[in-house]
Amino acid sequence: VFEYGVRYLFIGKSGAILLGFPDTTQDADLFPAKSEANGKALVAALSELKFELTDAESAAIIRGKDFVQLRNGPFDLDLVFAPDGIETFEGPKGKAAPITGGTITVSSTAGFSASQGRSLMRPPRERSRGSPAR
């Protein structure tokens, strides 16, 4: 992903976990910048990561449909081009925290939606007893 110059942020619970929030999740939520060039770079990167995309699916990503759900790769991935409460990519990007560990550097932001925020306010044990991790 890094080699392709994709502009993206981890958001939601996956972003919080990368920042050190003690919980689990079942997929990663990415907020990619919405542009044709970034979409093409993202498709190229996903293909290298072994996501199997048809031409129509690639076109949906390049077009930047608001919500794209990928279950055709090595891990579950949601692409959220229009996350709740975030008007532009540049806004949260300025607040994003780069996280480095070993050979990995990712950027994450604590821009949660209202429903995610409520979920995260509950204690970890209570969360794990409630609905399945998302």
């Binding site: 919980d23 689990t24 699916e57 449909k65 919500f67 070993g102």
Partner: protein, 72 residues
């Protein structure tokens, strides 16, 4: 109704956060991302929605409530 956490719960949270903070990024990625089959949701390899409203409506009309994707 929001319940005020007990002192014991606060201490437990603190321990949880401190332990998580000690983990490396690679450890967080390795142990925090788990996979459990979600009916219907995981039965298609690809879905795309033009709007978030369309996605939310799809969740409510197609997924069982216990999965947690319905609006509150």
């Amino acid at each position: 109704m929001i319940r005020k956490p007990t002192e014991g719960e606060r201490q437990e949270w603190r321990r949880d956060f401190e332990a998580a903070a000690r983990r490396t990024l690679e450890q967080r990625m390795k142990y925090a991302f788990i996979k459990t089959y979600k009916p219907i949701m995981d039965d298609a390899k690809f879905r795309a929605f033009d709007t978030m409203e369309e996605y939310r409506r799809w969740c409510e009309e197609n997924l069982p409530r216990w999965l947690g994707y319905h609006r509150v």
